[in-house]
C-alpha cells in the first residue's frame, strides 16, 4: 500500500510536468541534436540517472543517455553505479532544447566492515560483508544549453523514487557533453 501511494505521488507529479507537453502545438521534426550532431560524450552527475562518464545518442526528437562509474577500493569496497535515461524533445530553438526524461539508476555496493559487540565482558569485533543493490526511477524535464558551439550543458529536474522505492524525493541531474557528428 505504501508503494502504491508513492507511485500515485510520482504519477501526479509527472502528469503535472507532462500537461504543457500534451497541450503544446505540434512542431516540425527538428534535426538530430544540436546542428545535427548525434553523439555526445562527457560527464554526468545525477541522483537518478547515473554518475560518471556518460554517452548520449540523439535521433530526431529522441535521445538515450548512459552513465557509469565503477569504483574499487583495496578489495574492501566495490561500488558500481550505472544509469540510463530516455529523453523526448519538447521544444527547440537556436540556443536550447527542452525535453522530458525518464531515468533509471542501478547501484551495487559490496564491502566489508567491522561489527563491534560485547561478549563475556570483552569487546569483540567481527569482519562482516555487506551489499546493497539499489534501484532508482525518476521522471521530469530537462534543459540543454549550447556552450561554445561544441559543448552542451544539461540541467534536469523532476521527481524520483530511490533506494528500491523506499524513498520519494525531488531529483536533479547535471551534465556536460562534447558533441560529435
Amino acid at each position: 500500500m505504501r508503494y502504491v501511494n508513492r507511485f500515485i505521488v510520482l504519477f501526479v507529479a509527472c502528469l503535472l510536468l507532462a500537461l504543457p507537453a500534451i497541450a503544446q502545438n505540434s512542431q516540425p521534426e527538428t534535426p538530430s541534436g544540436k546542428d545535427g550532431k548525434r553523439h555526445g560524450v562527457g560527464l554526468h552527475y545525477g541522483k537518478s540517472t547515473g554518475k560518471g562518464l556518460a554517452y548520449r545518442y540523439t535521433h530526431n526528437r529522441f535521445a538515450v543517455q548512459a552513465a557509469a562509474w565503477p569504483r574499487y577500493n583495496n578489495a574492501d569496497k566495490f561500488n558500481f553505479n550505472q544509469g540510463i535515461a530516455f529523453m523526448y524533445q519538447l521544444h527547440s530553438n537556436k540556443y536550447m532544447n527542452l525535453y522530458l526524461y525518464q531515468g533509471h539508476q542501478f547501484t551495487y555496493t559490496k564491502g566489508q566492515m567491522y561489527k563491534y559487540y560485547v561478549r563475556n565482558g570483552y569487546y569483540c569485533r567481527e569482519l562482516v560483508t555487506y551489499e546493497y543493490p539499489w534501484y532508482a526511477l525518476s521522471m521530469g524535464a530537462g534543459l540543454e544549453v549550447e556552450v561554445f558551439d561544441a559543448f552542451s550543458l544539461n540541467l534536469m529536474w523532476g521527481y524520483g523514487c530511490y533506494e528500491n522505492f523506499s524513498m520519494t524525493s525531488i531529483s536533479w541531474e547535471v551534465g556536460l557533453f562534447y558533441l560529435l557528428n
Partner: protein, 183 residues
Amino acid sequence: MYNHMSIMQKLLLFLPLQVLLVFSVSAQDITRASDDTVHHNERYGLGGAVGSFTGWGPSVRYDYDKLSLQFTYSCYDDNAKDRFNLFGFAFRHKSMETGNSVFGPKLGVLLVNERSPLFREASYHSLIDIYLNEGVVLSLGAAYEYLYKQHLSLNLAAGYGFYAFGKNKTLHLSFEAGMYYMF
C-alpha cells in the same frame, strides 16, 4: 460561531476572494483583447521556483494574455517516517511590459505539510515524538520577469506574506525566484 473557526477555515474563506480579485483584473484585459480580435498570447513554462510564494521545487506555468498561473510542488518521503509536501500556486498579472521585462502583482498560496520523528533523551531512554508542521503561507507582492532569448524566463517576486502554522501567525516578508523555459 465565528470565534470557533480555525485559522485554516478563515483563510479558506478569504482565499477565494483574493483569487477572484486577481482573476477579475485579468479577465478585463482578456475580454478587451477578445473584442479587438487580438490573438491571445498563450505560453507554457517548465522550470523551477524557490521561495515562500509557492515553495521550492519543479514548477509549471501557464500564461494566457496578461494572466499567469504557476504551480510548484515538491515532496519527500523516507519510509513514511520523514515526509514533507509543499504545494504552491500563484497568480500573476502582467501590468506593465517594457522590452523583455514584465512587471505586475503576484498572489501566492503555499500549503505546507511536514512530519518527522523527534528523538529526545530522557532518563536514559529515547522517547520518540512526532514533529508536525502544517500550515499556509499567503503572499501578495510585486513580480518582475525578464525574458532572455525569448524563451528563458527569469522571475523574481517580493512582498508580504501571512504565515499561519498552527497557533503561530506571522506577517513577514515573502520572496521568490524562479526560472522557466517558455514555449
